[in-house]
Every structure is written in C-alpha cells, then in structure tokens.
C-alpha cells in the first residue's frame, strides 16, 4: 500500500507537501500539535476530502472518493442509540457490497463474525446492550469492532482513545495491538498522545502546525507484542524525547503547549479539522 498526498484546502492550507507511504499491514501513527491537519489527512485517506493537488493512493489505486475497504473510528464513538451493540457493529455490512446483499440471507454467519470481533476486544456477551448501557471504554471497543467488521484493508483512527481515562486508554492500546497482530490490516492512527503513538506504531510521523508538513519520521524498532512495561524502558523514553522535540516547531510553541512531564496529555484537543 502506498499513500502520498499534497493538499491545499480552499484558502487555508491544511496540509502541504505531506508525502508518506505505509506498506501493507503496517501500523503508522501521525502526531503533531493541534490544527496541523492530521484529521484532514485522515479524511483525504478515507476519500471524504479530495486533494486540490497531489494524489492519495490506497491499495495500489488512486483514491477518488469513499472506499469500501476502509474502516474509520473517531474519538467520539457515536454509536447509534437505537441499535443494540451487535446491530451497531453490523451497520457497515448494511452498506458495503457484497455484504449488503448477503446480510439478510447469511445473517447467522455475520453475527458470528461480529461476536468474534466483540470477543477479541473483550466485549463478549454485551451484544444485546444499548449504547447508553456501556461505559466510554466499552463504547470505544464497540466502535473499533464497527470499524473492523467489513475486514477493511486500511483502518483510520482519529484519536480513538483521546476521551478515555488513562487506565482504560492503556488497556485499549493492548486490545488494539492484539487485534492488529492477529489480523494485520494497515492502520493510520492520529493521536496527540506520544506514548500511544510509540507504543502502537511501527513508524511515527510528526507534523508541523498549519500548513501541516511532515517534519520528522521516527521508526519504532521495539519488538512486538509490546507491553506497558516497555513504555518505561530507556529505548522507549529516548524515542519519546526524540519525537517530542519535533512537536510545535519553534521554541515558543513547544513551551506553550509543553505542560507537565507527559506533555502529550496536555495538548488541547483538536477539532474535526480545519
């Protein structure tokens, strides 16, 4: 898989001359200060936005519009409140062909698939619950299942764990890593949390403030499966500092948004994009 794009968005340059590629099955994280166009990048990849210049390629083909082999999950789980967990997970199958035509006749097979996914993220037995009966972490797990139910080649995650508490977040890192190691889809993860990026990704890309440019690329050579213990090793810390130094471009931005020791948590949250 290859993804390279250049984009200027109306009058505002959201992303400029960003060029990166992710091999099939890779886990890539994109990070950077608020408003650097990370969400725009994801929308370009998803085909929700069209680049004004340049091209986006996914699975060997240029992206011309929404694509069915892409799964998306946002910070806000936005499950449909009138559907139970299982039916929320099945939603993409009602839209993506060929499943959309097979869903009714092969329902049992698809339900089994959804249940296997729910089990993989630790939500076994929650299929009958309504979204409001689930905690934030549980909703996000369901959200992940919904993004994966149609076996996408490419999973796009826009700060999926940003609204969760630290413990739940770390737990979900491991859940995501587990599912990914098992299924090996390609992931592009957008996050403010540098620990999250380094823990999960093969490569961490850092973008500059608007217009977003790629300013740093950090391969993460740590072996998998990674554990939370690994995040306290010197190798991890070194990577963390290397990435951190490239956030915020100049000194003023860095001091302005640095916050405490774990600066990544101190960043203001990015909106839905410029």
């Amino acid at each position: 898989m290859r993804a390279a794009y250049t984009h200027d968005h109306q009058a505002v340059l959201a992303v400029e001359d960003v060029s990166l590629t992710a091999p099939r099955g890779a886990f890539v994280a994109v990070t950077g200060p608020s408003g650097c166009g990370k969400t725009t990048l994801l929308k370009l990849l998803a085909g929700l936005l069209r680049p004004t210049r340049g091209e986006v390629w996914v699975a060997g083909r240029p992206v011309r519009g929404p694509q069915q082999h892409v799964g998306m999950a946002f910070q806000n789980p936005i499950l449909l409140p009138w559907r139970r967990t299982l039916d929320n997970v099945l939603l993409p199958l009602e839209i993506v062909p060929p499943h959309k035509h097979r869903l009714r006749t092969h329902r049992r097979e698809y339900v089994a698939r959804a249940q296997a996914l729910l089990r993989a993220v630790g939500m076994d037995g929650f299929g009958d619950r309504h979204p409001w009966q689930l905690s934030g972490g549980q909703q996000q797990r369901v959200n992940l299942c919904r993004a994966l139910i149609h076996d996408p080649l490419l999973l796009l995650l826009d700060e999926p764990f940003g609204a969760l508490d630290a413990f739940t977040r770390e737990e979900l890192w491991q859940v995501l890593q587990g599912v990914w190691l098992e299924r090996r889809f390609t992931v592009v993860l957008v996050t403010h949390d540098l620990r999250e990026a380094i823990f999960l990704a093969d490569t961490v890309y850092v973008m500059s403030p608007r217009p977003g440019r790629l300013v740093y690329t950090a391969p993460v050579p740590l072996p998998r499966p990674r554990t939370l213990e690994d995040t306290f090793t010197p190798a991890f810390t070194e990577l963390y500092h290397a990435v951190r130094r490239h956030i915020g471009g100049g000194g003023e931005a860095a001091t302005g948004s640095g916050g405490g020791g774990f600066g990544a948590h101190g960043f203001p949250r990015e909106g839905t994009g410029p």
């Binding site: 998803a46 929404p66 409140p81 009138w82 839209i95």
Partner: protein
C-alpha cells in the same frame, strides 16, 4: 402495580382537590350558577345533556383526528424534505414561519367563505394549527445529525439515501413523536376554534349554543369534556412515543 399506584396517585389527588376547591369556593362565596357553576351543577348538566354532549364530542374528535392525520402525513413529509435538503430548507422556511405566525382563528372566516359552515373548516383549522410543530421537529431531528456519524457511513461509500434511511430517519423519529403529542392537542384546539365560529355540530358549537341560552352549567360541562378529551389524546400519543422510541429515553422517565 404499586409503582403504577405511586405514579397515578398524585395527579389524581390534585385533580380531585381542584374540583373540591372549586365546589367549596363557589359555595362559600355564593357565586351565582350563571356566572360560575360548581362541579355538582356541571355534573348535573352533564347528566342531563349526556347524549348531546357525546354526539358533539364525537364530531369534534372526528374533525380533530382527520385534520391531525393530514398534518401528520404532510408534516412528516415536508419536515423530511426540509431536513434532507438545505435548498428546500432555505426556500421554504421563511414562508412557513410567516404562515405559522398568522393566528389560525383569523383564518376560519376565510375557510367559511371557501367551504361553507360545517366539517371542512374545522378539519382544515385542525390541520393548519398542528402542521407546523411537526414539520419543525422532524426537520430539527434531521438537521442535528452528528457530522461524524455521517462521515462513518460516507467513508464506507454510503449514498445520501442510505445515510438518510440508516440514520436520518430513525434519528428524527423521537422528534417526530415528541411533536405528535403537542400537535394533537393543538389540532383539538383548532377544531374547537373553528366550531365556535362556524359549525352546526361539535363540542365548540354546543358550548356557543349553550352560552347563547345562558345554560352556563352546560358550557362548563362542555369545557370539562374538552379538557378530558385533550388529556386523553395527549396520553395516547405520549404512550405511542414511549413505545416506539423508547431508546431515546434511556430507561428513565424523562418526559419530552
């Protein structure tokens, strides 16, 4: 059972209390029955005119429900069109607002000129008065769809129609049903307004006729029946709403 009892006891007590206060007040202050009859006098008038009251009440119920039914179908369709398309919204909304700000009582004489005295003006008034809240609610339900939710479906290649069917329509249903219980009571008011101006049947006509003959207890009997029917219609649609869009209430008894 005990929970139902607990739920129904307070309103029942308040209503009985209001009647008691009314009766005692009228007795103590010595108000003449042709000014304000007490509940017992009203009850006596009701018993005396029971057949006529229910005959006319049935007519009012009929015009209300026909008018409301038209508003329900028309309001849902127009609301969906307005919520679905920004163009339709921009084009129609000012007209609708202007239309809604005309007092419906002022339209009745026009309707009488067009359709004569009788059932049709009552139905149309009921329709006109209950149409707008349904349109606005349905359109609001569609317009407040979370953009992220649309993105999730759009990124899968969903068509606008699929997004509408999968999320737009179900999302607007609670708004639709919430508007129904308001709209049906409004339709009832509309029908009665029309009947008091131009009808030879219906509970509104009965009350006007009774007051012309100074049968004040009968007027009040009509009023009480009107109130009871209004409450009954409200309850029916509140129950329909609860049943069909229970998910919007999250298991708590939050009345919309």
């Amino acid at each position: 059972m005990t929970r139902q009892l607990r739920e129904w006891t307070p309103p029942a007590l308040v209503i009985l209390g209001a009647f008691a206060l009314w009766e005692v007040g009228v007795e103590l202050l010595g108000v003449e029955p042709f000014v304000l009859p007490g509940p017992r006098a009203v009850w006596a008038a009701y018993r005396a005119w029971e057949g006529a009251i229910w005959f006319n009440a049935a007519q009012t119920l009929y015009t209300t429900l026909v008018g409301f039914g038209l508003a329900l179908v028309g309001g849902m369709l127009l609301g969906l069109a307005i919520g679905y398309s920004a163009l339709v919204y921009r084009a129609l909304y000012p007209l609708l607002v202007g239309f809604n700000s005309v007092p419906k009582a002022a339209i009745v004489p026009v309707l009488v000129i067009w359709f004569g005295i009788g059932t049709v003006p009552a139905i149309l008034t009921a329709f006109l008065i209950s149409f707008f809240p349904i349109v606005v609610n349905v359109a609001t339900g569609l317009a407040t769809l979370e953009p992220e939710l649309q993105d999730v479906l759009r990124s899968l290649g969903a068509s606008k129609r699929e997004i509408f069917l999968k999320i737009g329509l179900p999302r607007s249903l609670p708004y639709f049903f919430a508007s129904l219980k308001v709209a049906v009571t409004l339709a009832f008011v509309g029908a009665i307004i029309a009947e008091t101006v131009a009808a030879n049947r219906g509970i509104g006509y009965l009350m006007i006729a009774a007051s012309a003959r100074f049968e004040v207890p009968l007027v009040f009997a009509g009023l009480v029946v009107v109130a009871a029917m209004g409450v009954a219609l409200f309850v029916v649609f509140a129950l329909v709403e609860r049943r069909l869009t229970g998910w919007a209430y999250r298991g708590q008894s939050v009345a919309g």
